[in-house]
Symmetry: C2
Subunit: 403 residues, 2 copies
C-alpha cells in the first residue's frame, strides 16, 4: 500500500473504531491504537511505520501536548510541582526496582534486566494526557500532578536510556554527559517559563495584526513545532517543548474560541489520531508469547510498580487516597517512548526478539487497560467524595463535571 | 537539514514572505512560492523536495481544491460548462500550436518540440484557483469558466503526456489506452455528480451524529483525500477528485461556519502554504539561462498562447472582452503539473538539462507575473463595467465586491 493510501486507511479505521469505543463509554484513543494494531505488523501487516508516518505522528504528539498545555493553568501547574516531582520519583524508583528484581528472578543478563527496568519506568505523556482530557480531569490538581510527573519521567527516562547505551557500547557511564543532559533540560524549562514566555506571547500577539486571516493559526502551530524541535535538539522529547509553549500561551489561545477550535480540529481530527494509530503500528508481538511464563509477571509489575509508586509519591501532597491512586494509575500507561527505547535496545542487540515482543505486549496492555480502570476509579472517587451515585439524576448534590 | 526542521523553516519563511506580498496588495501565494525558490536548489539549496514534502504538498493541493469546490455553486459550475470546454480547447490548441512552431523555429528535435508544446498547454489549477480566491472572483461565471477549463486542461494534459511517453518508449501511440483514459475521466466526473454526490452527502450527514466532536472535520478531510486518491488511481490529478467532492458538498460545508473555518485554517494555515512553497522547491534554474535566445520567445509564447486561446474560447459564451481576457490570463499560470511533466521528460531523456531549466523559468515567470496582471485586469474591468473608479468612496454606483 503506498504511503498516501496507507494514511487514508489508517485514519478511516482509527476514526471508526474510536467512534465505537467512545460510544461504549471509553476514550476514543483505544480505538485509534487498535486501528494501528489491526493494520500493523501484529495482524494485517498492511501499513508500516515509515519515516513519513513518523513525521505525521510526531506532529500529532506535539499538537496534543501543545493543546494540553493551553488547557492547564500555569499557576495550577506550578502549584503541583512538588507533588509531581514526588510522584515522578515514586513512579520511577518502584517500577525500576521491581524491574531489576524481576530480571534477577528470571535470570536475564544484566543489560537485558536494566532494559526491562527502564521500559517499566517510562510513562507515556500522550496516553495519560489524552485520557485526562477525555475524562475532563486535566485541569485539576490531580491532572497537573500526572502531567508534571509524566514530563519528569520522560526526562529521567532519557537519562536512563543514555546510561544504558553507554554501558552497552563503552562499558562505562559518562556521568559528565548525563549531568549536562539534565542541566540542559532544566535550563530549557526555566527559559520557557521566563524569557521564552515573553517571546512566544509577543509573537502570537504580533500575528493577530497580520493581513492574512490564517496567520494566528499558522503562528500557533509553528510555535508548537518550533519549541518541540528545540526540546528535541536538547535531547528531550518533542512534546515537552510544545507542552511548555501551550502552557505559557494558555489564556491567549483559550480566549480566541475560533483559534482554539481550529487547533483542536487540526489536532484531534487529523494528527493526534495518526499519532495514536501509529503507536499501534509500532507494536509487534506474536500471540504465542502470551504463553511465556515471563509475560504475566511483567504485566503485573508494570501495573503494581506505577500504581504503588505514584500513589506513595503523591499521597503526602494530595492527602487523599482516591486521588493518589488515580495519579498512580495515570502514570501507568507506557507508550511511544517506551516502544522507541526497546526498539533501540533491540537494534543495539541488547534485547532478544522474544523479549522485545513481550515488552511491546506489556506496553499495549497498559495502554488498553488503564483508561478502563481510570474511568472506574474516577467514578468511584467522585462517588466516595460526594456520597452520591454519579447517575443519580437531576437534583443531585455532587459537583458538576467541569466542561 | 532534517525533514522536520525543513518543514518548519519552509513554513516560517513562506508565511513571512506571504505577509509582505499581501501587504503590498498581491496574493500571498507569490511569497510562498518565493520562499520555496529561496530555500530550494535555485538559491540556498537548504531544502529538497523529498517524498515527505511531496505528501504534505499533495494534501495541500487537495484541500485547496476541495475548499474551492465548496465555494463554487454546482449550478453555476454546470452553467459554465460550455464556456469552460471552449476556453479549455482554445487554451490548449493555441499554446500547443505556438509551441510546435517555436520548436520548429529553433530546430529542436521532434520529441523535445512536443514536450515544449505540452508544457505550454497545461494550466495550473492550484495557482489559478488561489488567485481567484484572493481576488474574490471564484464564484463568478468567469471564475467557474477558469476553474472548469483548468480541470479540462489537466485531463487533456495527462493524455498528452501519455502520448509523449508512449511515442518516446514505443515509437507509437496507443490510441486504445488514450481513449480508455479519457473515458475513465468522464465516467468519474459523471459518477461524482450523481451517485457519488449522494454517497458523500450521506457520509457527511452521518458524521454529524458522531459521539466525537471532531468527526465532521475528520470526515470532510477524509472525503477530500479519498476522492483525490480515486482520481489519482484513474490517472487524473489528485485535485480533481477533491474539487468535485467539495463541489457536491458545498452547501453542507458552507452552512457549518465552524467546520468551514477549521478546514480553511487546516488548509491555508498549513498544507496549502507547503504546497505553494514546494512549487518553488521544484524550480531549478541557472541564472545565466536568462541570456539564452530561446528564453524570451518561450515566455512570450507562454503568455500569448493562453491569453489568446482562453480569450477566443470564452468570448462566444461570456460575450465580454474584459472577462474573456481575464479567463485567458487565468489559464496562463503553469505550475506543479507542468513542472512534473518536464521532470518526467528530463528523467526519460527527452529534454536536455538546459532546456529543462529554461522551461522551469517559464513556469516561475507565469506564476509570479499572472497574479499581478490579473489584479490590474480585474480593476480595469470593474472600472470599465461601471464607469466608476473602484476607490471612489461611499455613495459609489458600482456593484459591491462579493465577500
Amino acid at each position: 500500500m503506498d504511503v498516501f493510501m496507507g494514511l487514508i486507511v489508517l485514519l478511516v479505521l482509527a476514526k471508526l473504531l474510536g467512534e465505537l469505543v467512545e460510544r461504549a463509554g471509553y476514550p476514543a484513543l483505544l480505538g485509534e491504537v487498535g486501528a494501528g494494531i489491526v493494520l500493523g505488523p501484529t495482524l494485517l501487516n498492511w501499513i508500516a511505520f515509515d519515516s513519513t508516518i513518523e513525521i505525521f505522528s510526531n506532529i500529532g504528539i506535539i499538537v496534543l501536548l501543545f493543546l494540553s498545555g493551553t488547557e492547564l493553568s500555569l499557576k495550577f501547574f506550578l502549584e503541583a510541582r512538588y507533588a509531581a516531582a514526588s510522584a515522578a520519583a515514586g513512579g520511577v524508583v518502584i517500577p525500576f526496582l521491581l524491574g531489576l528484581a524481576l530480571g534477577y528472578l528470571f535470570s536475564f543478563p544484566i543489560l537485558e534486566t536494566l532494559c526491562i527496568a527502564i521500559a517499566l519506568s517510562i510513562t507515556s505523556i500522550g496516553i495519560s494526557v489524552r485520557t485526562l482530557i477525555d475524562f475532563r480531569k486535566l485541569h485539576t490538581l490531580m491532572g497537573s500532578t500526572i502531567v508534571g510527573a509524566a514530563m519528569l519521567d520522560d526526562i529521567i527516562g532519557i537519562v536512563l536510556l543514555g546510561t544504558l547505551l553507554s554501558l552497552t557500547f563503552q562499558g562505562t557511564v559518562d556521568l559528565g554527559a548525563e549531568a549536562i543532559a539534565l542541566l540542559l533540560a532544566f535550563v530549557f524549562l526555566l527559559f520557557m517559563l521566563t524569557a521564552g514566555k515573553q517571546i512566544l506571547r509577543w509573537i502570537l500577539a504580533q500575528s493577530r495584526k497580520s493581513a492574512l486571516h490564517e496567520m494566528t493559526f499558522s503562528s500557533s502551530i509553528l510555535i508548537a513545532l518550533g519549541t518541540a524541535y528545540i526540546a528535541h535538539l536538547l535531547g528531550l522529547h518533542f512534546a515537552i517543548g510544545a507542552f511548555l509553549a501551550g502552557l505559557v500561551l494558555g489564556d491567549q489561545i483559550r480566549d480566541d474560541r475560533m483559534l482554539l477550535d481550529s487547533i483542536a480540529d487540526f489536532s484531534f481530527g487529523f494528527f493526534v489520531t495518526i499519532f495514536f494509530a501509529s503507536v499501534g503500528l509500532l507494536v509487534q508481538f506474536q500471540w504465542e508469547l502470551l504463553l511465556s511464563s515471563f509475560t504475566l509477571p511483567l504485566i503485573l509489575v508494570a501495573f503494581l510498580g506505577k500504581v504503588i509508586g505514584g500513589y506513595l509519591g503523591s499521597l503526602p501532597f494530595l492527602r487523599d487516597h482516591g486521588s493518589s491512586l488515580i495519579v498512580g494509575l495515570g502514570l501507568t500507561p507506557r507508550g511511544e517512548i517506551a516502544l522507541v527505547v526497546i526498539k533501540v535496545a533491540l537494534v543495539a542487540g541488547i534485547l532478544t526478539a522474544a523479549l522485545y515482543s513481550i515488552l511491546t505486549l506489556m506496553v499495549v496492555v497498559t495502554i488498553l487497560v488503564v483508561p478502563v480502570l481510570m474511568k472506574q476509579a474516577i467514578l468511584l472517587e467522585e462517588r466516595s467524595r460526594t456520597g452520591v451515585l454519579p447517575d443519580s439524576g437531576p437534583g443531585q448534590t455532587r459537583e458538576p463535571v467541569h466542561r
